[in-house]
């Protein structure tokens, strides 16, 4: 619920509290991923006998799963648009599709981790291993949290009203989802595409 209701006047900025809160939070997240990405960039070449990045990365596979994640941003946009038009069924549909695409990406990441592990890259193998799993793992956890939020939203919408303006909530979670996607584009470029 926004403050406007409490104060009887609009918010000072005209942006709802939850959206402003999410923007603020994402500002903080930039620094979190900034720190993790810096750590990875510092350590990516330090393999101490374990596999090198180029030996294990499967660029075509990861490209496909990256594409899937990018598509989920599109479906998220469609969900927000439907929510603004108060088309509840469409909103729920696109939210579900977004969550499914996200789940596909996470599934791909689990597969990829398993494959890398079998090729000899454990969490403790080398600095490359530790920092790779930490960075991509943190991103994967962010996607997973996003999926949980999307599914919870669908569940709540199906049962009844949510407090506050529905479109506002969808848009807020949409902000988060787009942010996580953008971070992945950066990670994919820096981790997978730029050679050590």
């Amino acid at each position: 619920m926004t403050d406007a209701a409490v104060h009887g006047h609009e918010s000072s900025t005209g942006i709802s509290n939850i959206k402003l809160g999410m923007w603020t939070f994402l500002g903080s997240e930039c620094l979190l991923f900034g720190g993790l990405i810096s750590t990875y960039m510092l350590y990516r070449g330090r393999v101490t006998g374990g596999p090198r990045p180029a030996q294990i990365f499967d660029i075509p596979f990861t490209s496909v799963s990256s594409f899937v994640l990018l598509m989920s941003s599109l479906t998220m946009v469609l969900a927000v648009s439907a929510a603004h038009k108060s088309e509840d069924k469409k909103t729920n549909l696109w939210l579900t599709v977004t969550a499914l695409l996200g789940a596909t990406f996470v599934g791909g990441q689990v597969y990829e981790f398993t494959a890398f592990y079998n090729e000899g890259l454990g969490f403790s193998t080398s600095l490359f291993g530790s920092s790779f799993y930490t960075l991509t793992g943190f991103h994967g956890v962010h996607v997973t949290v996003g999926i949980i939020m999307l599914m919870a939203l669908v569940g709540i919408f199906k049962r009844s009203e949510v407090p506050g303006k529905k479109a506002e909530v969808v848009e807020m979670i949409g902000l988060y989802w787009h942010f996580v996607d953008i971070v992945w584009i950066i990670i994919f470029t820096l981790v997978y595409l730029i050679p050590v």
Partner: protein, 662 residues
């Protein structure tokens, strides 16, 4: 989603208010109860502010006892009070406690209590998240201190440099507790900062533009932005450390090719903004107190605002001045030397503005005012010794000696702590409806100031004489000759620390005496200037009967006084009582406040269970995870209000706060 409507008739346009007809959650939403429930399930920013304050005060005493033990150990050569292991834990936990569990939560307490009041709001933007933040902080603080009883506390220093913090060099669980505990407290800081930023940006009373905001709110806003961007950096560092210690990651393992300086960079990118996070709240308090007791507006308000913001920005570009001896290379050293000098300028601006605020005023030396004046003088000492560090070659002599200990205690005790005490005396009547004794306050002030100068003043000399920090013993062989050697100054410092302790004890006695004293404080005891005084003492749960419309900086003052056009002196046109009566006449008919909630404390309680499990048994972590998930869903599905029948009209009764002071 956190502020909850009960009634729907008074709503803003464009906002759909749900009227829930079913209870989604497992539990009903609690009603505003009395007794302990009123505190444990509260989402009221004022109660949470007081709880932050009480928690911080508790940890201040814990950290203070640790400090006294350190000074006992160092009072004489070859001290035997503590052994090396215990001493290392003691100085690590003293700093950790004072920084993360005293100054930060105390500032959070003031911010929580006074920002909504100062901007004319009825609560913060996200009251439940606010409660979550408090409980996380409390549990995080307890979690860190549990290590004392479970094999020993962290022993790597609060800066926790790698690789000395690795599992090989610190085999106890102390650092695990430390890292996870700070992580928990970090989440509290992050949620708090988001909450307050949104509150300040979105919930100001009509007419209150950013440049009409009270200066305390301004400084706290800068602090919240610093927290917002600094906390994630330490979060990363702590994750790397925990992953190394608990899951076998190699981040600081030199044998695997790790660079130990990575930790230092991450830590100080957080750590230097942290310094400003600690001191800017007190700058804000002092900038409130000085004008009130000078009967004059803050001199150069825009300069103070912008210098605060400038400190906030430049504070990000000075971190490596903590690493002048680390071997950064001369170019980096020169650059960071320059930025460090640059940050001295906006800090100096503040000192000048405070002094000029008093210039031409009508100075009333209340205890609050004395603490603020003490801050100006003593912080200046710390600031100037700070400038001597910015001279990098000179710093390579002083760093890691007691000169640095002296410097940052003048900054943090002379700055942050004196400001906090000024805030206590100034705002006590506002928070509790009673005034702290000014007579005891006078003793409190002088003992603290004399004690702190005796304690930390000699440390300048000890440092220049070459006594390094973090040594559990000093020896006569390196103490020098004559009377004024290590032995003399160490003894003076130790005696001073007990004088200081007596000063703080007097404050606690003052609090008890005041609580027992039935005398109520006047409505506006200090002739104050800002909005928080335009309501009852303590404020009602909904803060203001009507949200004031703001026309001036120092709105309250301008409702009491107007300028005589001929003489330019001020004449009183209304008393505080009259201003308040006017407010009450126009009181809002329908005021909606959020209902209490079970979930913040439950959710926060799950987190230390998870981290405890990370250290000892992953099974416990799973249990914590289940509770966390359960609480998250409870939170999300919580009915937006208590059932109608349970609702009690709080506004009519005042709050439980009324009972605190009695």
């Amino acid at each position: 989603m956190a502020i909850i409507e009960r009634e729907t008739e008074v709503t803003a346009t464009g906002i759909d208010i749900a009227t829930p007809t079913t209870t989604y959650g497992v539990l009903k939403r609690p009603v505003a109860a009395t007794g302990w429930r009123a505190w444990v399930f509260t989402v009221d920013h004022k109660k949470l502010g007081l709880m932050y304050g009480a928690t911080a005060m508790f940890f201040f005493i814990v950290g203070g006892v640790e400090a006294l033990l350190i000074r006992l150990q160092l009072a004489a050569p070859n001290g035997k009070v503590l052994n090396a292991d215990l001493y290392n834990q003691m100085f690590t936990m003293h700093a950790t406690t004072m920084v993360f569990l005293f100054v930060m939560p105390m500032a959070a307490g003031f911010a929580n209590y006074f920002i909504p009041l100062q901007i004319g709001a009825r609560d913060v933007a996200f009251p439940r998240i606010n409660a979550l933040g408090f409980w996380l902080l409390l549990f995080g603080g307890i979690f860190i201190n549990l290590s004392w009883f479970l094999g020993g506390a962290a022993d790597g220093g609060w800066f926790m440099y790698a690789p000395n913090s690795g599992p090989v060099f610190s085999p106890t669980h102390g650092i695990d507790f430390w890292a996870f505990g700070l992580q928990i407290a970090g989440v509290a800081s992050l949620t708090g900062s988001i909450n307050l930023i949104v509150t300040v940006l979105n919930m100001r009373a009509p007419g209150m533009t950013l440049m009409k905001m009270p200066i305390f709110t301004w400084m706290m806003t800068v602090v919240q932005f610093l927290l917002l961007f600094a906390v994630p950096v330490i979060t990363v560092a702590l994750f790397l450390l925990s992953f190394q210690r608990n899951f076998g990651a190699r981040f600081f393992d030199v044998a695997a090719g790790a660079d130990p300086l990575l930790w230092q960079h991450l830590f100080w990118i957080f750590g230097h903004p942290e310094v400003y996070i600690l001191v800017l709240p007190s700058f804000g308090i002092v900038s409130e107190v000085l004008p009130v007791f000078s009967r004059k507006p803050l001199f150069g308000y825009p300069f103070v605002v912008f210098s605060g913001a400038a400190i906030g920005f430049v504070g990000w570009g000075v971190w490596a001045h903590h690493m002048f001896a680390s071997g950064l290379g001369p170019v980096s050293v020169a650059v960071f030397s320059l930025t460090t000098m640059a940050i001295a300028v906006p800090t100096g601006v503040k000192i000048i503005n405070w002094t000029l605020t008093m210039w031409g005023g009508k100075l009333v030396f209340s205890t609050a005012m004395k603490f603020s004046i003490g801050l100006i003088v003593l912080f200046t000492v710390g600031g100037l010794s700070g400038v001597t560090h910015s001279v990098a070659p000179s710093d390579t002599q002083q760093t890691d000696t007691y000169y640095i200990v002296a410097h940052f205690h003048y900054v943090l005790f002379g700055g942050a702590v004196l400001g906090i005490f000024s805030g206590f005396y100034y705002w006590w009547p506002k928070m509790f409806g009673k005034m702290l004794s000014e007579r005891l306050g006078n003793w409190n002030f002088w003992l603290m100031v004399i004690g702190m100068n005796l304690t930390f003043g000699p440390m300048h000399i000890l440092g220049l004489q070459g006594q390094p920090r973090r040594m559990y013993q000093w020896t006569e062989a390196r103490a020098g000759e004559g009377l004024f050697n290590f032995a003399f100054w160490n003894l003076v410092a130790s005696i001073g620390s007990f004088v200081l302790a007596v000063g703080i004890l007097l404050f606690l006695i003052n609090v008890v005496i005041t609580a027992r004293n039935p005398t109520k404080s006047p409505l506006d005891p200090w002739n104050s200037r800002s909005l928080e005084w335009m309501t009852s003492n303590p404020p009602k749960e909904h803060n203001f009967d009507v949200i004031p419309t703001v026309h001036h900086l120092d709105e309250f003052f301008h409702r009491k006084y107007e300028e005589d056009p001929a003489t330019h002196t001020m004449r009183q046109i209304a008393t505080a009582e009259e201003v308040l009566a006017e407010q009450e006449r126009n009181a809002d008919k329908h005021i909606h406040m959020p209902s209490p909630s079970y979930w913040p404390i439950v959710l926060a309680g799950a987190v230390p269970i998870i981290t405890f499990g990370m250290i000892f048994s992953h099974l416990i972590a799973v249990v914590g995870g289940v509770i966390l998930l359960f609480a998250s869903f409870g939170w999300a599905l919580e009915p937006s209000t208590a059932p109608e029948s349970d609702f009690e009209n709080q506004a009519a009764h005042g709050t439980a706060l009324d009972k605190v002071g009695h």
